[in-house]
């Protein structure tokens, strides 16, 4: 039981301690740009229905009279081949991208990390070998190829695409955590916990895992960019969100047949993809700095 005074002390300590992380993050201007970009795009994605200029463009909408208009004041990104506003569709396109990231990483990170912890801590046992060799198999298959194969066998829906990408994503976390765990388990403080008699689950989750958070979070941020890229690539070949859901990759593909005279239908979604990946990369750098204890 802690008293109110102790609670105040504790919260001051926590603020002070985590304040240092923010200080390290802030130091790099580029990381701040990355953070700002991602937050802005996230906000746009969430508020798209309310802040986009022509929300109906995101759904079933046809207006041939307005088709293929070049960028203007009324349509800053122009209109596409059936008259939909490109800017609106790009904003809505972010929704698909972010939800892909959320689902894939949401499904893969936790199991991947747990498997890596177990395999790394119990290095020479049979189940560790099984885990790591299975991971090796999945890693050996190129993500895009596997996703394509799976998606072509099953119905090409968003869910299936997300599942396909998830299937090839988890082993990278397992590998990352495995290598860190297998070296950290020789640290004195882990030995100390073992000698005291702490349970293996305590050691894996309370002693080792907190020291891995930095690298895991960094990887999550950098991965987000990759997931979006692979998702866009899948959409580009027709395995994305079904029409009329706005999907950046699909937009790039559909617009490509009108190049080069009608350039805006492809360019703006492409720039959007570049922007969001860049944002996640810069953010990832910042997160790496946050956990880098050499920065005082």
């Amino acid at each position: 039981m802690t008293s109110a005074i102790e609670d105040i002390h504790i919260s001051r300590r926590i603020v002070h301690h985590y304040g240092r992380y923010w200080y390290r993050f802030k130091k790099n201007k580029l990381s701040m740009i990355g953070l700002g970009t991602i937050l802005a795009l996230l906000l746009i994605a969430i508020l798209a229905p309310w802040i986009s200029p022509y929300p109906s463009s995101a759904g079933l909408y046809v207006n041939f009279a307005q088709a293929l208009r070049a960028p203007s004041l009324a349509h800053p990104f122009g209109t596409d081949e059936i008259g939909r506003d490109v800017m609106t569709r790009v904003m809505f396109g972010f929704r698909y991208s972010f939800s892909l990231v959320g689902v894939v990483l949401g499904i893969t990170v936790v199991p991947g990390v747990i498997l890596g912890l177990v395999a790394g801590y119990y290095m020479r046992r049979w189940f560790s070998v099984v885990i790591m060799r299975t991971a090796d198999i999945f890693v050996a298959v190129p993500a895009l190829l596997l996703a394509l194969s799976v998606a072509s066998v099953l119905k090409p829906t968003e869910i299936n695409v997300m599942m396909a990408v998830s299937l090839v994503w988890w082993p990278w976390y397992t590998r990352l955590v495995y290598s860190s765990t297998s070296s950290l388990r020789n640290e004195d403080y882990v030995k100390a916990a073992e000698l005291i008699g702490a349970s293996p689950s305590h050691i894996m989750f309370s002693e080792i895992l907190p020291n891995l958070l930095g690298s895991i979070l960094t990887k999550i941020s950098l991965d987000a960019g990759w997931v979006i890229l692979i998702g866009a690539a899948l959409s580009y070949v027709g395995l994305g969100a079904p029409a009329p859901t706005p999907d950046l990759g699909t937009m790039i593909s559909e617009g490509s047949s009108y190049l080069p005279s009608v350039w805006w239908i492809t360019l703006f979604p492409a720039l959007a993809v570049v922007l969001v990946i860049l944002g996640f990369n810069l953010l990832g750098d910042g997160i790496k700095d946050m956990f880098s204890s050499s920065i005082r």
Binding site: D188, Y189, A192, A193, L195, G197, A198
Partner: protein
């Protein structure tokens, strides 16, 4: 548990490591006992095997052969196979306080672990508070992370962690070697106070002989895996028998002239400590020994009692005791 005053008994333990290049005899046939309430100092330089001895007693790895008994019960098991009372009763304080505390855990979280494992019924907050008091640390330090503590304070937390299980025997592996001299005293004095108040016994591993002379009840010196000399502390420093002991003592950097006079003057440190893979034949120290005789490079001397309570493993002292004193004085 048999009722006896001998707490720890180590008989003929060996630890040989097999490597591609050959066998490393890290510990080669060591025997000693520690009585209840005693502080045994184990001295040695790198490669002596002193840390390996500590690790085997803790159960970090198993000896290649030999016997270990604690309170009469068999100790020859890996730590994770040991019964709970053993894990509770024997504790270890590591040399480097910075690496023995998890940087991502607060002091409170670090101390909670041993308490919740071995004393689950104890009131957590109060027990932690008592532990902090026992090592003379302010209670509000419990919310701090190790990086927010000084070196000495970190080591005190490590000691508090060792005390948390209410042990009888603590192995201290170079507890103050990584610390500044102005804080060493505080740590040592707290350890001595705890020994008095709680009736603890210590295996005190260090290379700092000046410190040892003021702390240990008995001293044992190891060189390349073997025990070279064992004696009560006063006797050890007044009358060092083994040439290696004399060499060690003459190398100690001291800071007063009176200490200078106490050191054996004649032995200057020479030669390299032999590589563990190329142990010299016979006595492992003979290449560096200023008193080397023919027998030294063929026969390995045994640890034998030279005077009551004072054991030495050196051909200078085997059987011919009268001739030896002359030899010791005339050799240069």
């Amino acid at each position: 548990m048999k009722d006896t005053t001998t707490l720890l008994e180590v008989n003929s333990i060996k630890k040989y490591f097999r490597t591609r290049k050959g066998v490393i005899k890290a510990v080669d046939d060591i025997n000693f006992q520690i009585e209840k309430g005693e502080i045994l100092g184990l001295v040695g330089e790198s490669g002596s095997g002193k840390t390996t001895v500590g690790n085997m007693i803790m159960g970090i790895f198993l000896p290649t052969s030999g016997e270990m008994k604690y309170k009469g019960e068999n100790l020859f098991m890996l730590a994770n196979k040991r019964p709970k009372w053993l894990k509770k009763d024997i504790q270890l304080v590591f040399q480097n306080p910075a690496s023995s505390l998890n940087p991502k855990r607060t002091v409170r979280q670090i101390l909670e672990v041993p308490i919740s494992v071995h004393r689950p019924d104890a009131p957590m907050g109060r027990t932690i508070h008592e532990l902090m008091n026992a090592v003379d640390l302010p209670s509000d330090y419990v919310e701090r992370y190790p990086e927010e503590l000084g070196g000495g304070e970190k080591q005190l937390v490590a000691i508090a962690r060792a005390l948390a299980t209410e042990p009888s025997f603590i192995i201290l592996d170079e507890p103050t070697s990584a610390l500044d001299v102005s804080v060493q005293g505080k740590i040592i004095n707290i350890l001595m106070k705890l020994r008095r108040e709680l009736g603890l016994s210590y295996l005190f591993i260090t290379h700092n002989l000046s410190l040892m002379s003021n702390v240990a009840d008995r001293v044992a010196i190891m060189y390349l895996g073997k025990l070279k000399e064992v004696a009560r502390t006063g006797e050890f420093f007044k009358n060092p028998l083994h040439p290696y002991t004399q060499m060690l003592l003459s190398s100690i950097p001291v800071i007063t002239d009176e200490e200078e006079l106490l050191k054996p003057q004649k032995i200057k440190a020479i030669g390299e400590i032999a590589g563990a893979l190329n142990l010299p034949k016979g006595c492992s120290f003979h290449p560096r020994c200023p008193f080397v005789m023919d027998i030294c490079n063929t026969v390995d001397p045994q640890l034998a009692e030279v005077t009551p309570g004072h054991l030495c493993s050196c051909h200078l002292y085997s059987s011919k005791s009268d001739q030896i004193s002359d030899q010791k004085l005339t050799s240069e």
